[in-house]
């Protein structure tokens, strides 16, 4: 996070006071402004995809399914077809513009549904412990051991292909246990921390502890889980379409790749046919991962306060104004002091 934000950031002086001041600014003012460049890039790319998902079918120059009679080979990009055509003369750019919506909607829908499930189940299990934990973990484990992709091939093979929602629900039903497991483990660990015990001792109500003490410390995990789920949904739906288990008459990145593979696009070296949907799916996924960097930082104040200390190739420079000297060689072993490593005052 640090160095990529560096171009936007004046390099802070070595003084502790300046760093403290910057840390305060970081907390109070313009959290958005201080998002690292990678997160901004991710947000922008994702925004472009969402924008295209909304207006894509309106600005598509051709009907994506319209063929040119008599054509048998894919044609390279030209002024008339900016990304060339498929072997039946369908415009690749139009397919891409129209297909974005289905892919984006499916990914986000699955992400929202599955992450909501993981948070709800993971936090309940981790916080309550005991019998509810046993029950919910059992549920998660049963869903976890079901082989998702083969099961999806079987289930979706028999479901009527009526749109994104049924697919998103099936994907969510199989996708939530991953996040739930991680969130449960983290909740379990956080629950035992001193600050939660302190909150409990001071009489905070349970819901307050859950939402104000534990949840904010899991935002990074939850965001990562959301990102992971959206990625999983996009990659899985693309893979399913590639295997032919999808509504092949509608356009998405997956069905584009399916038809490209079916039309031997790779063997024909028709890169304009098979590359755009693959690259777009990868870009979409990458934007989500990049966005995660920013959320990670926003959810973890400690990362912000030590930021100025972690810059460049330096292996260690603490935020503390007291410099830590590199140990002289051979004097590194302070095993006698090991007890100090976990001992807090």
């Amino acid at each position: 996070m640090s160095a990529l934000a560096a171009p936007a950031d004046p390099v802070p002086g070595p003084g502790g006071a300046e760093q403290a001041a910057e840390a305060v600014v970081g907390k109070r003012g313009g959290a958005l402004r201080r998002l690292p460049g990678k997160a901004k890039a991710g947000g922008v790319i994702l925004g472009v995809f969402i924008f295209v998902a909304i207006i894509g079918s309106a600005i598509a120059p051709y009907d994506p399914s319209a063929t040119i009679p008599g054509q048998a080979l894919p044609t390279a990009p030209s002024a008339a077809h900016l990304l060339g055509t498929t072997s039946t003369g369908q415009d690749v750019l139009s397919q891409l513009l129209v297909g974005t919506r289905s892919t984006v909607v499916l990914g986000l829908l699955t992400g929202v549904i599955a992450t909501a499930l993981s948070v709800l189940i993971g936090m309940s299990a981790g916080f309550m412990g005991g019998l509810p934990d046993e029950g919910l973990s059992l549920l998660a484990n049963v869903f976890l051991v079901l082989p998702a992709l083969p099961l999806l091939v079987v289930i979706l093979g028999y479901l009527p292909h009526s749109g994104e929602l049924p697919t998103a629900i099936v994907l969510s039903a199989l996708g939530w246990p991953w996040g739930a497991r991680v969130i449960r483990a983290q909740t379990l660990s956080l629950r035992g921390r001193d600050y939660v015990a302190a909150a409990r001792e001071s009489g905070e109500r349970t819901w307050r502890i859950i939402f104000f003490e534990i949840l904010p410390n899991e935002i990074g995990l939850i965001a990562a889980s959301f990102v992971g789920t959206v990625l999983y949904a996009i990659l899985t739906s693309v893979a399913l379409a590639f295997l032919g288990v999808s509504n092949l008459s509608s356009w998405s990145y997956g069905t584009m790749l399916y038809w490209a593979q079916n039309g031997n696009a790779v063997q024909l070296h028709a890169w304009w046919w098979y590359a755009p949907p693959g690259v777009c799916a990868a870009l979409l996924g990458m934007s989500l991962v990049l966005l995660n960097f920013g959320l990670d930082e926003l959810g973890n104040p400690r990362l912000r306060s030590i930021r100025p200390g972690r810059r460049g190739r330096r292996s260690w420079r603490p935020a503390d104004p007291t410099p830590v000297q590199e140990p002289p060689s051979g004097a590194a072993d302070h095993s006698g002091l090991r007890g100090a490593e976990s001992g807090r005052p």
Partner: protein
Amino acid sequence: MWFIARRLAFYAVAAWAAITVNFAIPRILPGNAVDSMLAKFPQLDASSLHALEAEFGAHVHGSIFSQYFTYLGNLAHGNLGLSVTLYPSKVTTVLAQTLPWTVILVGTATIISFVLGTLLGIVTAWRRGGWLDRMLPAFTFLQATPYFFLALIAIELFAVNWGLFPFGQGYSLGLAPGWNWSFISSAIYHSILPAFTIVITSMAGWMLQMRNMMITTVAEDYVLVAQAKGLSPRRVMFTYAARNAILPNLAGFALSLGFVVAGALVMEIVFSYPGIGLTLYNAVTSADYPLLQGIFLVISLTVLLACLLADIVYFIADPRTRTRAAY
């Protein structure tokens, strides 16, 4: 000990649930094994049809409960029935033939990917802002690429254009499987490209997770204390920071070992690799339910074992999960 006993009981219940779901799948879905057999051999007469029905357990007239207990009894004897598409091979035989391919290739690739990704994650977090950190978008791009797309491009580049590696299959066609060097070297040669594509696409996930956990850990007081004690940076990095940050990655690794069997469906299809994923895909598309059930069962049980492993890892490595009410 009490913890392990309770967990084992818990996993017994989960295994039972998985087995029951497995029992239910072919009974919920339309079509059955005998119908698909009939489609393959339309000239079957009535008596052999009845024999087949008895064998595959289709059109059984007993109640669902008696079917269920018959199924459990067969399982207990290791009897998974006969495959329809590879008739008259036993499902267990098919499993024994295909499982090693998948386990060796995907297992090795998973371990390489985990070790590489975790190491890179440690270094990336330790040297935040270093060149590896700046390379992260490239790694995430690889992670976000649809697997088969990458695999197709790898085949196009390495196999078609440059001719460095074979297109697919597990070994050269002329060879008979056996424990001789020419076969083994051929198998290794054929597995490099698939393994490479798996490592490339899955490494970034480990790297990212390790980096994120490591960044949190590096800010902990004990890391500062370790630094203040004058320990060497390498020692602080590995035995203080990384050791405390590696937990989610280890648990994830234990889990992913369980998915070694199931996770390579697309890889095996793209590379025509003779493993369990390709067999599963063929079983699904040809409604070979006995084989499908057998493979699902193996996958479910391996994943369960992996979950148990992940739990034990957590239990041993993180004392905080051992608190009063947790277990």
